[in-house]
């Protein structure tokens, strides 16, 4: 009786706590699995959304000119059609570079644009100073797109420069100013596009496009 009286409570507590711990572990495992699944679903959904966004950009970049070429409405010998193709190729190239996993995505994207221009026979200088801070893809697009668009029109030479500090990134494209239509991209002058400032001007000597991000 004495033995029963002494041990019944501790044994009961021990057994009870063991059961509680076991249950808690099980619950935690279930919850963790649930969260992992939710996170995976979120990631997948976000991935799909990003892919969809990119697809929209791709179709606006290349879809129409490709469709017109396929339908025979556009003549590949037409310089305007050729220009649109070059422009579309530049956008596609940058979009492909955008999803690459590299340390300096902005420089990687600009390098991709410079590569393409060079392959099309344009002597281009790309000079970078400093390392850009990590920037969201939206900002990178606003920094690079107006300039890579302009690049598609250039023929003689181009100088693409990037100067980066922790709080500021300035990308500039300088090309000779020839007779002809305004370059592709926003019209001359200054534009504020959120945290990115765009500036374009031509002075008869050079065309100068610059995008500037400030924290």
């Amino acid at each position: 009786m004495y033995v029963y009286g002494t041990f019944s409570l501790p044994v009961a507590v021990f057994v009870g706590s063991a059961v509680v711990v076991g249950l808690a572990r099980e619950r935690a495992a279930v919850a963790a699995a649930g969260h992992a699944m939710a996170a995976e679903r979120d990631a997948a959904e976000r991935g799909v959304q990003e892919r969809r966004d990119r697809l929209t950009l791709v179709s606006s970049a290349a879809g129409r000119v490709l469709a017109e070429l396929a339908a025979g409405q556009a003549d590949p010998n037409d310089p305007e059609v050729q220009r649109r193709c070059v422009l579309a190729a530049a956008r596609l190239r940058r979009l492909i570079a955008e999803s690459d996993d590299v340390p300096d995505p902005l420089l990687h994207e600009l390098r991709a644009a410079a590569d393409l221009a060079e392959r099309n026979g344009l002597p281009i200088d790309l000079v970078t100073i400093g390392t850009p801070p990590p920037l969201p893809v939206e900002i990178r697009r606003r920094l690079a797109d107006p300039l890579t668009g302009t690049l598609a029109d250039v023929q003689d030479w181009a100088r693409l420069t990037v100067v980066s500090g922790p709080d500021e990134v300035v990308v500039s494209l300088v090309t000779p100013d020839r007779e002809g239509p305004e370059a592709t991209g926003p019209p001359p002058g200054e534009h504020d596009d959120g945290p990115v400032r765009y500036l374009y001007e031509r002075d008869g000597n050079i065309r100068w496009a610059q995008t500037q991000w400030r924290r």
Partner: protein, 237 residues
């Protein structure tokens, strides 16, 4: 300015240049560039700085390739600069750190090899009279200088450096900043003069600074060498 940048040095004799490079083809190329300018004359060339300077002890300017026989000649550069030799470094290594290190070591100017004839001639002429010349690549290195002890540049100086680096055209920079070309050059040169205060002291840096003060480009107090006489006799607390 507008004055002839070398008037002070040449008077009637041309500027003597020594070229140190371990690639004969580069030496010949640079010699050909400099030959287009009657105010310059090449006195000696070779791949060993000491031998070249023994052959031409009176050289006003030394054009030094920073990479000689596979190694960076930064210590040689510092030695020559400390001895008062006006060294213009020219190199294919145009990463900003190398350029700033060359300035710190006392180089009068840094020229990227791809920057061509006009910049080369202008740099040597300016160096001969202890005046700054900042080619676009060097302007980029200065404006992007990330070091915590970098010289403090004014907003206008930074803007002028940045735009000059981007466009390589002072006329375009002037139009963009709505100032004269002369003022653009002043901003750029003033930024360069502030760099004479960075790194270890060298005779060439002192000469650049002295000439800049003489020309009215900077005032002594602007670059932090102003010392009030009033504090002179005050005991330190």
């Amino acid at each position: 300015m507008g004055a002839d940048p070398v008037a002070a040095v040449t008077d009637d004799r041309p500027v003597g240049v020594a070229i140190v490079d371990d690639h004969p083809v580069v030496v010949e190329g640079v010699r050909a560039w400099l030959a287009t300018e009657p105010r310059l004359t090449v006195l000696a060339t070779g791949d060993d700085p000491d031998a070249v300077l023994r052959a031409a002890p009176d050289a006003d300017v030394v054009l030094l390739d920073l990479r000689l026989h596979g190694r960076m000649a930064l210590d040689k550069l510092a030695e020559l600069s400390a001895a008062g030799r006006r060294v213009v470094v020219y190199s294919e290594h145009t990463d900003p750190q190398t350029m700033l290190a060359a300035l710190d070591a006392g180089a009068v100017a840094f020229l990227a090899k791809h920057e061509g004839r006009e910049h080369c001639v202008a740099t040597v002429l300016a160096a001969a009279s202890d005046r700054p010349y900042v080619p676009p690549a060097l302007a980029g290195a200065m404006v992007g200088d990330p070091r915590p002890d970098r010289p403090m540049l004014s907003d206008k100086e930074r803007e002028a450096l940045l735009l000059w680096f981007q466009s390589m055209s002072k006329a375009s920079v002037a139009r963009r900043m709505q100032i004269s070309e002369h003022t653009v050059k002043q901003y750029v040169d003033r930024a360069r003069i502030k760099y004479t205060r960075a790194g270890r002291p060298a005779a060439t840096k002192a000469a650049l600074l002295a000439r800049a003060i003489e020309d009215g480009l900077v005032r002594p107090e602007e670059i932090g060498i102003y010392r009030s006489q009033a504090t002179h006799d005050r005991p330190t607390p």
